[in-house]
């Protein structure tokens, strides 16, 4: 089939802000930053507005993604899995086939173009799983920016392969030792860098969270997923999907694919959060599917946070570093409020089982993050009719998770290999 048309952004009243409510989606979002960043965030907002108003900018973005990242990514029919489950026909949007292995590159290349327009020469980014840091380091190498990546020390330890690539791409990787030493702490450290170096530095925030305009800007670049996917599923399945599943950490891949279907009332949108060890404070990263989160203001925006009664953040846990985050995209919370997006959680155990099933039946290796979306689709597909269609966003590929997955399934051969390697290096 020919490449789907990606020349138009869906009409979205979401971003038509009322006077005095710029950056708000219902009660959520906004811009809560220290005063020192006011001029920087204003400059970014104005620049992004100008980009968005310029059709040539979107065309340039699409062209970069086509020639550099391999877009459009395909939609794949999972015939074996669909037959085995005996319900809905399951299709997958293959963001895992993007350059650097996940949807993160869409946002990063887009912000790289914005950074060029801003005339800045240095980029910083936080990263959890390492996919966003990896993508940012790639973009910086391509565009000639200096690059520093902040990553929680816990994440550095569990996602070493991505650290390896970031460093070899020329980025400096800083292991953050404060707080829980995960994604949220990396974001704090980026904000500290930004308040110091805003003159020449653009902060490439990796997910659709943080202060306005980041939720809007990241969603804008990620909307390329949904625009492609809508045309592709119509061509492949002959109809719109009945349900679309996407994992939700910060929420950028979900916002990306959901935007393609927001105006299609018959398409149910399902956000899949990290259920970790299950409900109860401290054991998961489900802000909406479980009942442990409440409304708060942190890291520059208002949303549901996993926090205690004093407003201090709780520990979070997920098998997937990229979902292990306290807050969630404010646009998704607004859509959840309105009943437009349903939220579910997938536990670590369910994720391990689903990953095994998908690898064996379809030869796909979704990232642990993306596997959360597979869990819910696999759970719900059997009760759906054969004439119904499911679309899953496979936001990233799982080979980066080899150490975590090998641990999770206790793979003896892999462990023996690592022991032998260690002996090699020690010699």
């Amino acid at each position: 089939m020919s490449a789907p048309c990606v020349t138009a952004i869906p009409s979205m009243s979401l971003f038509d802000f009322a006077a005095g409510r710029e950056g708000y989606y219902g009660a959520y979002g906004g811009c809560f930053l220290p005063e020192i960043l006011t001029s920087t965030i204003t400059e970014l907002r104005d620049c992004f507005r100008a980009c968005k108003a310029d059709p040539a900018f979107w065309d340039e973005f699409v062209e970069v993604m086509r020639t550099y990242s391999g877009r459009p990514t395909p939609v794949t029919f999972l015939e074996n899995l669909s037959n085995q489950l005996g319900g809905a026909r399951i299709y997958v949007k293959r963001e895992d086939l993007s350059h650097t292995g996940s949807h993160k590159i869409n946002n990063v290349m887009g912000q790289g173009l914005v950074c060029k327009r801003l005339g800045k020469t240095r980029v910083i980014a936080e990263t959890g799983a390492g996919q966003h840091g990896f993508a940012t380091a790639t973009m910086a190498a391509r565009f000639g920016f200096k690059c520093k990546i902040y990553m929680g020390a816990v994440d550095v330890a569990r996602q070493r392969p991505n650290v390896f690539w970031m460093e070899n791409l020329g980025a400096e990787v800083m292991a953050v030792q404060d707080g829980q030493r995960t994604l949220k702490d990396a974001i704090n450290e980026c904000l500290r860098d930004w308040v110091t170096n805003m003159g020449d530095t653009h902060y490439v925030l990796g997910t659709a969270c943080g202060p306005h305009p980041f939720p809007e800007m990241v969603s804008y670049f990620q909307s390329i997923i949904g625009i492609e996917a809508r045309a592709q599923i119509l061509a492949e399945a002959g109809k719109l999907p009945d349900r679309v599943y996407a994992c939700v950490g910060g929420g950028s891949n979900a916002m990306g694919i959901f935007q393609g279907f927001l105006d299609d009332a018959g398409v149910e949108l399902v956000g899949c959060e990290a259920g970790g060890f299950g409900p109860g404070p401290g054991g998961h990263a489900s802000r909406l599917a479980y009942k442990d989160a409440s409304l708060g203001v942190a890291q520059g925006y208002k949303t549901y946070f996993l926090q205690n009664d004093d407003g201090n953040m709780l520990e979070t846990h997920s098998i997937a570093a990229g979902l292990d985050y306290i807050g969630v995209n404010p646009i998704l919370v607004h859509l959840w409020d309105q009943g437009r997006v349903r939220f579910e959680a997938a536990t670590d155990t369910e994720v391990r089982d689903a990953l095994r099933l998908v690898m064996r039946t379809e030869g796909l290796i979704p990232a642990l993050e993306s596997t959360h979306a597979f869990v819910r689709a696999i759970a719900e597909a059997p009760a759906m009719g054969r004439d119904e269609v499911i679309l899953i966003n496979q936001s990233g590929r799982g080979d980066k998770d080899i150490f975590t997955v090998a641990d999770a399934i206790d793979d003896q051969a892999w462990k023996a290999f690592i022991r032998a390697k260690a002996v090699d290096y020690g010699a």
Binding site: L33, E35, I36, T38, D178, V195, L295, A298, D310, G311
Partner: protein, 262 residues
């Protein structure tokens, strides 16, 4: 007495006022109390009591770790208010709540203002709450004679400074440079220019903070600012040697051979 007349009265007898900072519950409330006693010995005029927050993204490493440690030690918002109430009853200086907006938001703005007033606080500094979002909180504060202290920064345009000046009450906290708390600031012509821009935007007393740490800094600010704001440097002294080290720090800072009574 409200903050502004209090500061103006103090200014008639001192050429530069002093505001200091304590992270509530770090290393302990007993240490905080002893630190306040030292500050009173040195005739400090204002003290910020920082309510610990888990995501202190405007703070440098020393304060960030102090926040984190205080939370690990089990410090709650109610403990901070209780400490403030005890301190307000005992010490001559005025106390300000300093913290991040989520602390205020989570308890509710009206409850926060009530408890701050009940604890004897004079106002609050909430650096991640922009004036655009602060309307209701400032109205509630005004009704209880509490002052919202606004930050002005060198990256602000003159138009923005004017807007900040309109919202400010009590005094203005001018941030001497880009960056987070606890890094050295160059006291130079650039800072003089910034102070002049702030003066044009407000008639309130002007405090200078971020990186003010030495006697030279104090000498530089004398005659240019109304209040020198000392944060990280004092905590750093405390960490090096408790009350005696802090006394030594303030004595050196203020050019005194020995502490004088408040």
């Amino acid at each position: 007495m409200a903050l502004e007349p209090y500061l103006r009265a103090r200014r008639t007898r001192k050429d530069l006022l002093l505001m200091t900072h304590v992270v509530c519950g770090y290393p302990s409330f007993e240490d905080n109390w002893r630190a306040l006693e030292v500050m009173a010995e040195f005739d400090v005029d204002l003290v910020e009591l920082q309510f610990p927050f888990s995501e202190p993204s405007a703070d440098g490493p020393l304060f960030a770790r102090a926040n984190q440690r205080a939370i690990e030690l089990g410090v709650h918002t109610r403990d901070c208010f209780a400490f403030m109430a005890r301190a307000a009853a005992r010490f001559p200086f005025k106390l300000l709540m300093m913290g991040y907006y989520n602390t205020v938001f989570k308890m509710g703005e009206a409850v926060f203002i009530e408890q701050l007033a009940a604890a004897g606080g004079a106002g609050f500094i909430v650096p991640d709450l922009p004036v655009e979002e602060a309307g209701e909180l400032h109205r509630l504060a005004a009704a209880k004679d509490l002052d919202p202290v606004i930050l002005m920064t060198p990256t602000n345009t003159d138009a923005r400074l004017a807007r900040l000046g309109q919202a400010a009450r009590g005094f203005v906290y001018a941030v001497a440079r880009k960056g987070v708390t606890g890094t050295k600031t160059a006291m130079d012509e650039g800072l003089v220019g910034f102070i002049e821009r702030c003066r044009r935007a407000t008639d309130l007393p002007l405090g200078i903070g971020f990186g003010v740490s030495s006697r030279d800094d104090i000498d530089f600010l004398r005659g240019r600012a109304d209040i020198a704001i000392i944060g990280t440097a004092a905590l750093s002294a405390w960490e090096h040697g408790g009350a005696p080290a802090m006394q030594e720090f303030f004595a050196e800072l203020l050019g005194r051979t020995q502490a004088r009574g408040a």
